[in-house]
Symmetry: C2
Subunit: 414 residues, 2 copies
């Protein structure tokens, strides 16, 4: 009898799929142009097999359109900052084709007579603080950055948005938790990576901008990283969650470098045990330092630095990505001489006495925090505190943080 129904429902569903009334579905309104142009549906971005990308925008009345984004390299400062000029055809469609791009995830926006917009023809876009950008991926071959950030034909982990209580901060808080493929169907216990975002970010940042799920899926499937749980908490101790996700910031528009939510009861790093306690109570985890790692970018690198000084026994693997760590440099009395830094130097001494399995510092040579990390390394060197150092090109950008996560994830729990 089931077969009969399937046949009939296929017939009827075909009718349903045939597009009757289709126009009524999307947002109810149909939207002709302000002026008398018939809108043209364009394909954008179009990625050729050899990695060239064509951007297109239908904007018949525009005086000038540029495309700007981090795919622009080896060009003049002006082009890097302002973008490439697009050319308009007779139908009002502007277009520009790049040279061959190397495998990567790229951002871009259009500049239409000074108005910066995402690409209306591309559904893929991500938000960084207050700015939405369109994105595309040049997915190369296995192991390439573009491949690592792509959704490949591998088993996928699950992503959950989880509310937990933080008694230290006096808040219900939201975090993102990645459980690796297989977690739901096993009784195995897993190690946990705590992955921290930067200033202006929130518990969604690593899962969107950071492609954390794709990176872990691909590394785990390839046997390059151990299956692990990844916990991405919110690092702003005076908020509960990302904008729009809690009642205190229901329609809040974030501004980079500003935080309008007043004082917190405690610091992010002081509240870290609340997070660990929740995770270790609710997930099947290995709960010793050999199976706990922490890393973070920028402010989250600072949180990592301080949390591991606070709780030297907690984490075996420690990663600082473009870390915001502010130690007095040569021009100041050093940490070892100043009384106020006594707790810090004792804390670091205590941390390194536990012999961390990995203390990993990564930064790009153009990062505005490069010098800070140099001071930190000098301090660690002066005490023979062992660490690994990774330096690459580039600045204080997600492109680098994705690279660092990919590298760090391969070094831990082994």
């Amino acid at each position: 009898m089931r077969q009969y129904f399937s046949a009939i429902s296929l017939i009827l569903l075909t009718a349903c799929f045939s597009g009757i009334g289709a126009a009524a579905h999307e947002n109810e309104v149909t939207l002709p142009a302000v002026r008398a142009h018939k809108p043209i549906q364009v394909i954008s971005p179009e990625i050729s097999k050899d990695g060239r990308v064509t951007f297109r925008l239908f904007a018949p009345e525009a005086g000038g359109v540029k495309v700007v984004g981090d795919f622009i390299e080896n060009e003049s400062e002006e082009i890097v900052r302002q973008g490439y000029d697009m050319k308009q055809n007779a139908d009002g469609v502007w277009s520009f084709t790049t040279k061959q791009l190397k495998p990567e995830l790229y951002y871009y926006r259009f500049n239409v007579d000074g108005l910066l917009i995402t690409d209306p023809s591309n559904i893929y876009r991500i938000r960084d603080v207050a700015t939405w950008s369109s994105i595309f991926i040049i997915s190369g071959s296995e192991g390439d950055a573009g491949w690592l950030y792509s959704v490949n034909k591998v088993s996928h982990g699950n992503i959950a948005k989880v509310w937990y209580e933080s008694p230290t901060l006096g808040l219900s808080r939201r975090m993102t938790v990645y459980t690796p493929a297989g977690y739901e169907n096993s009784s195995r216990k897993y190690p946990v990576l705590y992955l921290l975002h930067g200033m202006g970010g929130d518990e969604d940042a690593w899962a969107t901008l950071g492609r954390a799920a794709q990176i872990l899926d691909n590394l785990i499937a390839g046997g390059k990283a151990e299956p692990m749980i990844v916990v991405m908490p919110n690092g702003n101790p005076n908020t509960s969650a990302a904008p729009g996700e809690w009642s205190g910031a229901q329609q809040y528009q974030p501004v980079f470098g500003r935080n309008d939510f007043g004082d917190s009861k405690a610091t992010m790093e002081a509240s870290f045990p609340d997070i660990i306690n929740y995770v270790e109570k609710h997930y099947r985890v290995l709960n010793d330092r050999r199976h706990r790692a922490v890393c973070g970018l920028s402010m989250g690198g600072g949180h990592t630095f301080w949390a591991t000084v606070h709780y030297p026994e907690a984490f075996g693997y420690i990663g600082l990505f473009s870390a915001s760590v502010w130690l007095p440099g040569r021009q100041f009395p050093t940490i070892d001489q100043m009384e106020r830094y006594k707790p810090l130097r004792e804390g670091l001494a205590g941390l390194f006495a536990t012999k961390p399995l990995l203390y990993w510092i990564a930064i790009g040579e153009d990062d505005f925090l490069y010098k800070n990390n140099k001071v930190l390394r000098a301090y660690l060197d002066s005490h023979d505190y062992p660490y690994e150092y990774y330096e690459n090109s580039g600045g204080h950008v997600w492109r680098n943080w994705r690279i660092y996560l990919g590298l760090f994830a391969q070094k831990i729990f082994k």
Copy 2:
């Protein structure tokens, strides 16, 4: 010692928060206008206490800007379709202020000389098939639609993106699962609502466009709905997941009314047991029909119709929202006369013989499927199959489906 560290880290984090290098953070590029205009940061939308909304857009070179969206009511057909004209000031900022709007979640876009864009000053936007719209909420008092869709000061459930195996379809598939506040910290078993999307949608649609988590959070916190798990599967049986979430549609741009993924091994409704089996194995659920409900919008209403005919014992509560159900009307031989409809009429007879606890049909008077649902009701009436019927104004739109979910959720598991 912990107190010392907190004090020091606060000092150092203050430095970190002071905005040094802040400009480097967002997408690396700074973006001056194509022409020589100094960009002006505007606030948009700005919602007054009495519910009037001001939209603003900095577009100094534009010839004409309109704002269009579903907040426009009681206006000429032209304004409803094309939007309100915005006025430009001397700084190049266009603006328009609405009259008082009733509590609701609204969509809007700007039309800049024929170019349709989301509002660059508003981080809140959602995608419907291929179209992104900016959104805002007029949140009224408790019980209002706007309040129901808001993140209020209540306990929040968790949202997970979960991969499961569908042997019937031969695919790994992704679904969204809402677990109510308290689920993680109890041993209680919960009823389950299976909530299905429409054509062009995916497993993300009810959680974004449908505000399912907010609706459930608010109804449960107010004691108006029973705490329940809500499972939102993907209703396209030839795909694994939403665009961008599976390797088969890594950078796929969806087109409304089209589906490029070929034939499926079976129908969505035939594969329903795979979903139920996964959920009942992995979650603490009450697994009888008194604790299983299913509802869906449009195509998902069709899936609900057929799944409950397929599996008459499975669901006690059944909801059809603007359902895509195509039965022969009066001009054709009726279901009762045609041999080919024998399985359907026997299936419906079997379903209603089980005495469903609720068979709920909801539709708007302007819905293009209104007539289809009238035929369905006539058939049910002619056999004295009991159902409840809810009719309101409006068409085939998410605004109605959110209303229907809010109503249906209050009727089930009681």
